[in-house]
Subunit: 428 residues, 4 copies
Amino acid sequence: MRSVVPDYLIEALGDARADTSGALAAYIPELAAADPERLGAVFATVDGEVYGAGDIDTEFTIQSISKPFAYALALADRGFDAVLAKVGVEPSGEAFNQISLESDTGRPLNPMINAGAITAHSLAGSAEMTAAERVQRVVDGLSAFAGRQLTTDTAVCASELEHAHRNLAIAHMLRSHDILTEDPRTVVDGYTRQCSVLVTTRDLAMMAATLANRGINPVSGARVIHEPVVRQVLSVMSTCGMYDAAGDWATQVGIPAKSGVAGGLIGALPGQIGIATFSPRLDRHGNSVRGVSLFERFSSDMGLHVMEVPAAARAVVRSNHVVGAGRDAIRVLELQGGVGFSAAERIVREAVDTAPTEVGVALDLTMVYSIDDVGRRMLLEVVRRLTLDGHEVYLVDPETLVPDPDPGDGGRVTVVKTLEQEQNSSDR
Amino acid sequence: MRSVVPDYLIEALGDARADTSGALAAYIPELAAADPERLGAVFATVDGEVYGAGDIDTEFTIQSISKPFAYALALADRGFDAVLAKVGVEPSGEAFNQISLESDTGRPLNPMINAGAITAHSLAGSAEMTAAERVQRVVDGLSAFAGRQLTTDTAVCASELEHAHRNLAIAHMLRSHDILTEDPRTVVDGYTRQCSVLVTTRDLAMMAATLANRGINPVSGARVIHEPVVRQVLSVMSTCGMYDAAGDWATQVGIPAKSGVAGGLIGALPGQIGIATFSPRLDRHGNSVRGVSLFERFSSDMGLHVMEVPAAARAVVRSNHVVGAGRDAIRVLELQGGVGFSAAERIVREAVDTAPTEVGVALDLTMVYSIDDVGRRMLLEVVRRLTLDGHEVYLVDPETLVPDPDPGDGGRVTVVKTLEQEQNSSDR
Amino acid sequence: MRSVVPDYLIEALGDARADTSGALAAYIPELAAADPERLGAVFATVDGEVYGAGDIDTEFTIQSISKPFAYALALADRGFDAVLAKVGVEPSGEAFNQISLESDTGRPLNPMINAGAITAHSLAGSAEMTAAERVQRVVDGLSAFAGRQLTTDTAVCASELEHAHRNLAIAHMLRSHDILTEDPRTVVDGYTRQCSVLVTTRDLAMMAATLANRGINPVSGARVIHEPVVRQVLSVMSTCGMYDAAGDWATQVGIPAKSGVAGGLIGALPGQIGIATFSPRLDRHGNSVRGVSLFERFSSDMGLHVMEVPAAARAVVRSNHVVGAGRDAIRVLELQGGVGFSAAERIVREAVDTAPTEVGVALDLTMVYSIDDVGRRMLLEVVRRLTLDGHEVYLVDPETLVPDPDPGDGGRVTVVKTLEQEQNSSDR
Amino acid sequence: MRSVVPDYLIEALGDARADTSGALAAYIPELAAADPERLGAVFATVDGEVYGAGDIDTEFTIQSISKPFAYALALADRGFDAVLAKVGVEPSGEAFNQISLESDTGRPLNPMINAGAITAHSLAGSAEMTAAERVQRVVDGLSAFAGRQLTTDTAVCASELEHAHRNLAIAHMLRSHDILTEDPRTVVDGYTRQCSVLVTTRDLAMMAATLANRGINPVSGARVIHEPVVRQVLSVMSTCGMYDAAGDWATQVGIPAKSGVAGGLIGALPGQIGIATFSPRLDRHGNSVRGVSLFERFSSDMGLHVMEVPAAARAVVRSNHVVGAGRDAIRVLELQGGVGFSAAERIVREAVDTAPTEVGVALDLTMVYSIDDVGRRMLLEVVRRLTLDGHEVYLVDPETLVPDPDPGDGGRVTVVKTLEQEQNSSDR
């Protein structure tokens, strides 16, 4: 059997190919010389599977798609406070090359416009690094997201540096506000190198999948950044990633995304998938024409919208029954599905409503699919309260979803692999 | 046993009470006379459970919190095209009372600023309605979200109308651009009535829960709006709901939200929960001071952030084994958890990788928790492809997650309640 | 002999007629129905001569040309402080219908944009006037400028009121900032009546000539406003009169001016001339196409630019000689030309440099053309100092340019009609 | 006798000294170290007299006061078209260091803001000049205005270059729009040298007087720039010279002016006077506090406002009489005062109204004070028309105000020194 996903991608690319509107970026000869018909799309799942169609191994420069990743590196290397002091998180509603500094502080509005991205570049790595070391830090960081060592396109980089007057203007303006503290030319040089990193559509999808996978590269398994950084980066992408079309994108596509002037476009859907497309012709916002329409299709076809409400789920409490009898009787709450706050709340409610008369109460996690921090904490609080009410509490947890459970302050729990195990032991 | 949730809310309110910063809205006497110490918070789950603490049954005027709901009614009553032609979806990065019209079309940037909200009010109900009928439509619509009949505060309404010069300015400006087509005074009158609808914190939480619950009121079970409208409204709330602090909110709280000048604040986390708080003192953005800090705490404590990546889940394919032997052998893919695109992709992959040699292949949904459209379609495509490869395919679906499965074009599937049922029948 | 001026005007109109670019104002049917070929130009000198060519007696609505005059009335009726508290004097660099309020105070930037003009209208007449009285005050004031009783075009006024949504928006916004303190509708109604006053090109030239003539109507001789008001109005016209083309106009034409949407255009060159043109087709700034080009020609042909440096003048001290001999010898400074600060300074200098040894010193004003306040004061100070140095000082002032001369504090002067008169008297 | 002007200046400075509000420019140490109590004022008349009081020979850096002069040099060296293509003439209503480029062309709004001044600097001298040659051209040009060779303050220049990030930002932005075509750093270097030229208050007054004197230095007699350039520069100073306080200045002072951050302030009143003040403490607009109040006083005390309407002048036609009798009778129009358009118009009118029956008609210029181009042309047209009507026309012009008079096309005129001369000759 052949997977349905590649077939889907091939069909989507075929439909997209008909649209030849838009124009190549023309401000440097190297971008203007790109093959406008190149077209590729890749899905990378958070468990490392990669599906692609079209020109997925053609290298092109990453350009502005480097912005969220460099921002992530700055947050990781300097901490939130240091970065937020220098770059805001507010949408600018303006084109990417507007200066958009806060009028009082000179702080760039967000890290997705050039002013903020130049600042973020300057904050990657430690403050003591030389400019060359900083560039290396950024290239290595991007490589970690991609899962392979990336390189820069020196011809594109040299050409961009010759046309970097607007970025130099921005950098000098930032320097005049002490947002940049280094030589503006050096920072623009480094930022331009960052933008000239060569990537394939496959690389970009893997980079996006690393964001979708809580900061861990799904193939290499390496943790590139921590979860709070991922959340920050995805949030900023969702509000500021698509420049002045932010609202259209948020409503119609609803996937945190970022585009680059060489034709790349990425999207990361938390916990699910990284997506990348490549097609060099750009719309008036500077976003890939076909890339945008492919993302609209992907979002619509596959329900990949952050505001997509999941179908009403089955009850997290699969069953609520009693096994055994007499004083050996145990009230069993058989749980299922993923346990976050909402599910945990339902479990709490079931326990409260049931008001079990049996001494033994078992929470059976055998069919639970996943559990997060708050779910774990609420479950343990249920255990504690049941203990205080005089119950013997058992946690049926064959796969150790809750390692070393500590219900705290008066709570007590016995962990068993199966309920039978418990019953056998109490038979003794 | 007592539920942990009320305890949590009580603790959170206790901590919030210490913050007496901010100031009451003072532009009309009625708001300036509010008791600044009022404080309440309510959680309403998507299955209808309500937890509250503090002043949750005190009535106050809904004010700007009516905006997303009236926008939803306009979308429902007139359709997306008609509404989008008159109100944009772009964040304005400006205070709520800025005019913020697109310079060419005069279209308000989004429905969360007054210009857009006044326009949205004018689009609620049918075009033929009288002004009074439109107000009734809006009040009834808000009531449907809340699950009880709401009324307006005529004193507040009258007082606001006396101070409505800015809104009248906006409405006349909209009229000059033909965004409004009715008498500006009449529309502002209707809009002011909308804003003076009386709600409790409990009502607001239920209204938010209706958005979180795909448009269905969790208690009454009534479908108030359809899912595409919900998605649109939540998207716009997430980018434009908190005025000029949109980026801070998106990164730190990450819950689509809306505040009102009377001190209300709501948040809706899709598929999970509706939250409302009430505390009348406002910060310089016009958002409730304690409300904002409560939401920051809720988001942080309970992982309620739309970009929160769920903990790595267990494999959706719980087991892949063969039952029976010889020509009766059946390859069983026992599935679990929620099946959206990502999960379906893993099932597809398992089917492809396994390349089953057995004639019979069973997809066992017994432990599947939920399944959405794309999951259903992909599962059926797997069935179709397996059929074409010569397999007999069984769907073990005791609770009819996939009603009337039609794998289409050459596909065939037998639905059974249990695998034993199938085996028994084939034994015959 | 026939005057050269009418011939010049006829030639200029003939050349201008060829330009049929631009478009009629179309926002109300009455303006859209104007005859686009109408063309007229009038020069009105500060001593009451009127030269005209073309359609100089066709009536049309004054529209925005009423703005400087209503501003003048407000300044006259309420005083500078009261008006400046509500309307600024800064150029807006924006189109006439932008709101352009100061962000902190809500004060319109200047009285030539609609927001400022509506405010100025509300400040004409006394605060106690009814709306009807205020309109009458404005119409009467405009009539005084024109030198005949003007009336309003009720059809245009009614039609404009139907399309006054933008002005109503502005007025409500002004009301919300307490810049307007009356009902916004009433003020807009009055302002619209002001704009619908019917004038001819001849009227407009006379109104401009009244400004050029220090506030006195050159024909009726009536003082309409005082000089400080004239100076204020001309200054504001020079920086804000031509909307967003203010700088082009200031450099190329250099005549304080104001245009109206019905095709009128006026200019006032202080002390010299009032000019008006009429041609209904407008450029993209809303200024009459042919009017602008006629003014450019007038300014260039006739040196009518406020920054035009007058040709180097002859010495103000025409001669410096001694008449008589011995102790009857008198040092005579024979003065000529206009005596303002610059000329007076030269007279002072001559007196100092000469250091006359004669006891008698005469300042002969016989050939002096004009003298202003500062010239008069400086001349008297020279007299005083000469007295203190021991001189007998004579003022030869046959036409009483300096009535009742009082050199103050120790100064003394004898006024004579002719020097001979003095000598005769001293012969006695 | 002692002149009244120095006494006036001493009194004015004495009054101004009490105001110690404002603050020194602090962005470089050299300016922050200035003596804040320095105070000086100079009047320089268009015929070369200089009056001063206070610290009038203290050197300080010219800073932004160089802007109008460098703009003048650019206009002189490259022509109006070349300069206007790169720098606009519209007021910006913004602070001096705003970028304020036209959104479409990138053209700076005017030459008084830094972006325009940097561009103007780059246009001084020929396009072929090296950067050093261009700086020399500018310093020499400023020196010609001042009438002595000026030098630069190398310490201030070096310090400013270290803090030139904002100007570098502006220059790179201009380079990105191809408004600048040279290396941005080199241009900023040259511009900074221009701003560091050392001047005294006396120098500044002489520079302003050169503008007031139609481009001719009143002392050296050298023509520095031609009159159209003067008119352009004065116009731009009047609308854009005082940054965001342009309207206040235009109404209250009414003298084309420019301020510098070192405390200098100049004003030039066409045909009359150049004024300079020096006092280093600045207001929030960056203008010298005491300088502004001195100019307000000078304008008010001495009627030095461009919109000041001159006192009603005597009739330009001093007498209209007949000398001689019979066929020798000559109609004499004895003229006086300055003859521009307005005066010439009155002469024309007198000639028309008189409709002389005498064959001889004499225009007597003996008492005419000045005459400009349009006056000369109109006078000759009168001559021509009188000739065509059959008259013999005489021009009594003892001081050759109208050299080589050519009435053109059928006109004829006899020039005489005195009317007696004519009568004598005709007696022959």
